[in-house]
């Protein structure tokens, strides 16, 4: 009798253990092995979400590059408009089949970058309007530049010319000068570039300083182009970021400028209000509405200016 009871007990125990082991295996088979153990259904959902976000971020970058283009004015308003139209079309095409509706808006306060400019033609003036000589640090620790344009309307002879120097983290420097040369009247205003390499002075564009044939010299320092000359080697060809940018003898040339970058705009050069935000790297608030969840992302959009 005792032996029978023990046998039944062992049998029941064995069956119970078998049930536990079998259930564990079944449960384990419904899980996917990931960093955080999860079901295969939710792993697929996460993967689809990541793909969708990567695709949208690519589109945002492409739109930003196309919107910025060569027209730098009102970039924020034009990009906001492009985002609105993109969102509408995207949801019309993808929303129904993909099950995720998107809303994307520009977040100006979270965007990276600042701008300084001189809009009215005149002597190239330092931002806080200090006394001559007009010499100032434009920016330090500059990691990304979106806009770096000068338009020179006139050069002023005598002594040292207008000079802007970009010094890279590798110690190399690159400089652009505006000087007057020629013997006739009027003389020519000429843009010359040079860098740390000895004997590297190269005149890149020129035009009469006054008179009916005089043309403004419009220089894009990022692309290395001048409207009255050919392309030239620019600072990114000889130096490496982060850059430090200085201007000296601003009063030796007339014109306008515009500079937008990510970096430090030092308080020794700028008073309050002398700079304003410019989305060199725009931040975009994206909201995804899916049947199972609604979530937000703020993404910094890499703009491929090339």
């Amino acid at each position: 009798m005792v032996a029978n009871e023990r046998g039944q007990l062992l049998l029941i125990g064995g069956v119970a253990i078998a049930i536990v082991v079998f259930s564990t295996i079944l449960f384990a088979h419904s899980l996917a092995v990931t960093d955080g153990i999860t079901t295969t259904g939710s792993a697929d959902t996460i993967e689809r979400s990541a793909d969708r976000e990567a695709s949208v971020e690519r589109d945002l970058g492409r739109l930003a590059a196309e919107t910025r283009g060569d027209d730098l004015d009102e970039f924020e308003a034009r990009y906001e408009n492009a985002l609105q139209n993109y969102t509408e079309t995207h949801n019309r095409v993808v929303g129904g089949s993909g099950g995720a509706y998107l809303n994307a808006t520009l977040n100006e306060s979270a965007s990276l970058g600042n701008e300084t400019s001189q809009i009215s033609p005149g002597e190239i003036d330092d931002p806080d309007g200090g006394p001559k000589p007009k010499e100032w640090v434009v920016a330090k620790n500059v990691t990304r530049i979106a806009v770096f344009n000068f338009t020179f309307t006139k050069g002023h002879d005598s002594g040292k010319p207008f000079n802007i120097t970009v010094t890279g983290s590798n110690g190399n420097w690159w400089a652009l000068e505006v000087s007057l040369n020629g013997t006739g009247s009027p003389k020519n205003k000429t843009v010359t570039i040079r860098d740390s390499a000895p004997g590297s002075d190269i005149p890149v564009c020129t035009s009469p300083n006054s008179g009916p044939d005089s043309q403004d010299l419009m220089v894009n320092l990022i692309t290395g182009t001048c409207n009255q000359g050919s392309g030239f080697k620019t600072f990114s060809d000889v130096t490496k970021p982060p850059y430090t940018i200085n201007v000296s003898k601003g009063q030796k040339a007339d014109g306008t400028y515009r500079f937008a970058a990510i970096g430090t705009f030092p308080s020794t050069s700028y008073d309050s209000g002398d700079t304003e935000p410019y989305p060199v790297i725009p931040a975009v608030d994206t909201t995804y509405d899916t049947p199972s969840a609604s979530y937000n992302r703020t993404v910094l959009v890499e703009v491929d200016d090339g």
Partner: protein
């Protein structure tokens, strides 16, 4: 005394079984039970998704989308007619393995989603199209200034907003956005 012995025996047995189970599970890659067909579909889905993601990342998908209907009437990997980078990717990934696929483009036309078959439909893929095909999608955003691809897709033509005969219309005429195309790859 005997009860204590049984209890002790049961606890020890449980420890042995649990230890063996944990050790066994950590030694194998667990996943849901799948039939051979399901495994093949899952593998195809991964390859299709990776192909589209890679093509989108490198710009090959943009070029192929900008070429369809103006530079080439169809997009596929059979290496006849046009030969875009995306078509070469399709050839290496699917055609050479003997797999069938269809490529669909969905876009907005007058506020309504429209879909076209961009790949060439053959007798085989019409007859053998199964219900459990793998599906992968990717989106391509077209802008007004984006150049169309012409001449077997190797050359750049006028901007999409200026080219005639392009399959997708300008969905947002007042904006830089031209259209959004959903590329859907169905493989079996």
């Amino acid at each position: 005394m005997r009860g204590q012995a049984y209890t002790l025996e049961g606890v020890l047995a449980a420890i042995v079984v649990v230890t063996a189970t944990v050790y066994g599970l950590s030694a194998v890659d667990t996943g849901p039970f799948q039939t051979g067909a399901q495994q093949r579909t899952a593998a195809l889905e991964t390859r299709a998704s990776d192909t589209l993601s890679l093509a989108a990342e490198t710009g090959a998908l943009h070029n192929a989308t900008a070429c369809y209907s103006v530079g080439t009437p169809t997009l596929n990997g059979n290496q006849t007619g046009s030969s875009t980078e995306f078509e070469r990717m399709l050839n290496r990934t699917f055609d050479r393995q003997g797999e069938q696929y269809n490529l669909y483009f969905s876009y907005s036309d007058s506020g309504v989603r429209q879909t076209v078959l961009a790949s060439q439909e053959s007798d085989e893929n019409v007859a053998e199209r199964p219900a459990d095909a793998a599906v992968a999608t990717e989106t391509v955003t077209l802008t007004d200034n984006m150049p169309a691809r012409i001449g077997d897709c190797s050359g750049t033509g006028p901007p999409l907003s200026a080219v005639g005969g392009y399959f997708a219309p300008d969905a947002e005429p007042d904006s830089i956005v031209y259209n959004v195309v959903e590329v859907r790859l169905v493989v079996w």
